[in-house]
Symmetry: C2
Subunit: 197 residues, 2 copies
DNA sequence: GAAAAAAATTGAACACTGTTCAATTTTGTT
DNA sequence: AACAAAATTGAACAGTGTTCAATTTTTTTC
């Protein structure tokens, strides 16, 4: 293994482990065994495991952003918001274990805060959706539009946690896809009404 | 301490610890120290710590249900849904640490499923809200109404995770109360529109 | 009541975490 | 080749959840 890219090798190997065996499987020793590097080296490179997970999470957010950014010029604003949502759902379902980790990182995080580097990615995605929002609701003043956007995006984001587990299966027969799409379309219909008031 | 109520004593003491020091503070040994019972006794009573946390969580859901049930006959259907939401937010903000545990239990739970006893509480609350929904949207057929209700309730439920931490503080200036209320009212407005189609 | 049987309680011990740091190995410099 | 600097290592520490033989307490039986 290329010694010049220890950090990269560890990140890649860790990502494999998460994807294949689940987020819970990722421990310092198992990463050490799987990568061939000692536990100490992991700590030299990342300081602690929380930082390692943080890196995994913003890589995941980067990958999500890349997927959504491809749709930047697709269709009408309304269609685009639906495409964003569908692409978002696809991404989450394709990367259940990685997305699970994004949602459950704050447990280990002492200060319970997004780090700056983490937050930047979330804002980036928000801005992407905001341009579609602007075209769709031109009559809503900016501050309120931002607020509505944030509420919708945070709702979809938090709701997507259910897509990564089978928690819902015993609660509702609802299709996981429909769950998010129904939220989007009902919310957008509501905004159209509130826009006219 | 009353020897006849070991289980009750442990549950109460554990609840105190969670509320005062946070969900992360609750460990078998700390509960043992705080309660005066040995670690072994805790395991005799609850089998494992996951079961203990599960009990804490459905007690929390019971308490939430009790709060919401008081509003069963209040105001119009529309007002009642708003009251439910406000009461829900109040409850979450008053019991941040307990609610945090409700949201983050599935991490430790191997099979990643709600237990039956857990699920019953969630359904109970859903049914409470459904009666207001029925009055508000009489023209929507039952299966679709249930679906819409579940989407709204699950959205509010998952969104409420943000109320228990300061994760959002660096992302948005939005008031935590407004976050949920805006979701509710925009969603309800959207349903009124979709009802007429 | 005393003795025997049953049940409940205990905490040391096991396997697993994240993390540290003196000792070792590797790399770079003179 | 000898030295200095840096990187790597893994045994060791403190903390988890969990188990189970030994102890203590309670109940039953005579």
């Amino acid at each position: 293994m290329n010694k010049d890219n220890i950090q990269e090798n560890l990140v890649n190997k860790g990502r494999e482990l998460i994807q294949e065996k689940g987020a819970e499987f990722l421990t310092a020793r198992k990463l050490s065994d799987a990568s061939g590097y000692s536990v100490g080296t992991i700590y030299n490179q990342f300081g602690n495991m929380d930082n390692f997970i943080l890196i995994q999470n913003y890589l995941t957010l980067d990958a999500l952003y890349a997927r959504l950014a491809k749709l930047r010029a697709a269709g009408t604003a309304y269609q685009r918001l639906n495409l964003y949502t569908q692409e978002f759902i696809d991404f989450v379902l394709e990367n259940k274990n990685l997305w699970f980790l994004v949602h459950n990182f704050h447990l280990h995080n002492n200060n319970r805060r997004f780090s700056k580097i983490y937050l930047r990615r979330v804002v980036q995605i928000t801005q992407l959706v905001e341009s579609a929002f602007k075209a769709l609701f031109p009559n809503i003043p900016l501050p309120e539009r931002i607020l509505s956007l944030q509420v919708l995006w945070l709702s979809l984001f938090s709701l997507s946690a259910f897509l990564t587990t089978d928690t819902l299966d015993s609660f509702s027969k609802i299709n996981k896809r429909s769950l998010c799409e129904l939220l989007l379309n009902t919310y957008l219909a509501g905004m159209k009404v509130l826009e006219k008031l």
